[in-house]
Symmetry: C2
Subunit: 498 residues, 2 copies
Amino acid sequence: MPADKELLYNDYKATMRKIADVKYATAVLQWDQETYLPPKGAHFRGQQLATLSEIAHNMFTNEKLGKLLNELISKDLDAKQKKNVQLSLEEYNKLIRFSSDFVRKMSEITSASFHAWLEARKQNNFSVFEPALSALVGLKREEANILGYDAHPYNALINEFEKGATVAMADKIFADVTKPLLILLDEVKQKPFAEDRFLHQTFPKQQQWEWGIYLAKQLGFDFEAGRQDISEHPFTINFSSQDVRITTRIDEDDFKNMTWSTIHEVGHALYEQSLPADEYGLPSGEYASLSIHESQSRIWENCIGRGHEFWQFYFPKLQQYFPHQFNDVSVQQFMQAINKVQPSLIRTDADELTYHFHVMIRYELEKNLMEGSLQVKDIPVYWNEQYKNLLGVDVPDDKQGCLQDVHWSHGSFGYFPTYSLGSFYAAQFWEKAQSEIPELSSKIALQGDTGLLLHWLRSSIHIRGKYYSSEELCTLVTGKQLDSKVFVDYLRQKLNYL
Amino acid sequence: MPADKELLYNDYKATMRKIADVKYATAVLQWDQETYLPPKGAHFRGQQLATLSEIAHNMFTNEKLGKLLNELISKDLDAKQKKNVQLSLEEYNKLIRFSSDFVRKMSEITSASFHAWLEARKQNNFSVFEPALSALVGLKREEANILGYDAHPYNALINEFEKGATVAMADKIFADVTKPLLILLDEVKQKPFAEDRFLHQTFPKQQQWEWGIYLAKQLGFDFEAGRQDISEHPFTINFSSQDVRITTRIDEDDFKNMTWSTIHEVGHALYEQSLPADEYGLPSGEYASLSIHESQSRIWENCIGRGHEFWQFYFPKLQQYFPHQFNDVSVQQFMQAINKVQPSLIRTDADELTYHFHVMIRYELEKNLMEGSLQVKDIPVYWNEQYKNLLGVDVPDDKQGCLQDVHWSHGSFGYFPTYSLGSFYAAQFWEKAQSEIPELSSKIALQGDTGLLLHWLRSSIHIRGKYYSSEELCTLVTGKQLDSKVFVDYLRQKLNYL
């Protein structure tokens, strides 16, 4: 009878909400760990995080919830309710494979790894990170075994970040895109070298900070429902759709760092801030997938934030913030500089083209680590070789090499491929948005108003939560499956325009 | 057999550690709520805090822990272990009286009250706070009934903050001290009026901030194991002895506000940072009582931070930070100004003498609220009358009146009396420290070195955790019971010296 069904569903919602409370509390402790935690606090913080992870795990794997989900799945629910229960049941069936001891251990080891990574960066020495990372890699292999996999242990891990993704699929996507990107890179090399020295003058911290806050506001980030802080590695984290935190880092010698990392994180944050608050704790209140999340950051960072429409309006504003640095620069010179294609050392500073080579190197490295053909201790040598081979650059030290990303210290193996997928999805969404909103470009160029895009993304993607998988969503929104050619064409057109 | 005993005790320690993890996680969320939380995040934050409170409560009231504690209490443990188990069992027997629903409700209502208080302050209107406060007062009365009490419902609540304290006892202490304080106030009034206008020049935020950080460091606050931030109401909170956070507020027109609130909070923090880290989660790793905690903040704020020895060394430093504001001021003028006795509106800005009248007003008000002879809606009128009667000042608005303290919005009824007790304990510890360390004054005056006092407080009080009650500790350390005459004598001597 309907009353019983509603009662059960409400029980499910209340349980999920409490689990979310614990998970988001964990996220607050993680945010604090990366922004404000004093160094001596690290040990007990690791312990506190481990306890919260264990509690959330125990709440989710409670037999009562399992019984409830199995009962609900057979009821006549509406489509959204059914999808929620189905996704929660999937998660339940996955999580019950893990003991709470394993979850606790994973949390403790990742906390320790994070602090080891910070210390290793400080000392610019991978060997400081190595013991913690080795322990973590061992645990991740154990995780792959617990999850089970076909064909390749790495499948289990990438599937954690992108449901349904496999090594075979990622291999194909990267193979497909490599050749066109190399051709495009050759084309670019024929053109005159873009001058970008003016991006490397001195840009005082406080002014950069204010410029970043201004940009975030202009793009629609709601500071009543979020904030920005400083961290070693920029990230977005949320504790509800009403409290979304972004971080940035500021390099006084490099204008690009803060500006595009801010736009990137704002892209993530606009997605989180647009998720339906009344679905808090339910799949329908969560983002679709990591690659779709990344598509949101990329569409803002690249399609908008490196586009000529945007800077047509915002370059004069930028000149007001940094008159000394930019008054002698034209918007054309600026566009050429910020879109300059040049193989480099740091992924987050890379141009839109060579970026994907950075991802590929990490993808192959992780694959090798997981199958055991590469040892943790050999990472720096492997890394430096691959950077020489694929990007043609010499890695001078670990900080600019294999210590540059925070991801492994978080236990995030299988995460990097979602960055490339995100760029490819972004290009496809951008193509569609432009065709559906004819006035989009002129609104941006003439008024600096990106609200039409945000509105379109909200109604096409954000409010749909986790109802559709990445592929379903892509087809639904753009009318076709993911096709990296759209990305290559977008990029060629943009680079030719410069 | 001993092995069994050790096993049980270790089980107890591990359980307590996990409960502490959840409590400290809750504290992180509270800290964030008062420092960085964006306004729209308040609703879900309240929910998250409520869930964590409920979880901690369920962990502590788990029958397994009760059984374990009851078993351990009969074992042949060493004195510290026995005391730990005894205190935990007391806490267990208290907490099992509360349902987890009650705990959740209390947490939700206090979160809502805190935000209502912030909003009421913004609007400078008590009636904005009234509905939330009424709900909270109702719940606190319910709490008193659940806890049970003799004689007066307020007894149950003050006992929560100061074990063993009663209305009868507090009435007597306040009665004892009122007359001597009024006499002293009369004596002061005979003297010429101290000039303190130079404390109300413009003191830029950033310079005050730096001065505060400098002071905190000089006093021994370990910034590797803590930090300072800004909040509406200064407070100290800790997530382990290795992560102790203080907050301050900065008023550009008032030099006193930030400086002495910083010294005050540093006093609290030095206590927390000195608690034994390896006793994390156990009573032996916790502070003795709130009044003893307050004695630590007061000894630093008043005995040190308003003392002539301190400023003999630090006044020239202060002049370096604020040359424009203080170069024409002598250290004598400064001492007179910062110790100026004058009835005023704001408790935290009050001088050492009239401070206790502020406390007494709140104490009587809470007592009346709890016995039902005062209604929440009548608080502003009652408040303003009492300030007129006892302090002779006219309260111009709610913000400078009954909305000035955060405590009620936290559900802290019965907390204020510990402030006066703390001052009285502080004077007694200060007297003893001076007699035991003859070189203390000269070290401070000539080198600005307060390390001898910190060392003495650590070994006499801090490292003892919760082993002794306030009264036991006072007798053990000073050789006599709490006697407010010591405080009055200390104050008379100081005011005569000016």
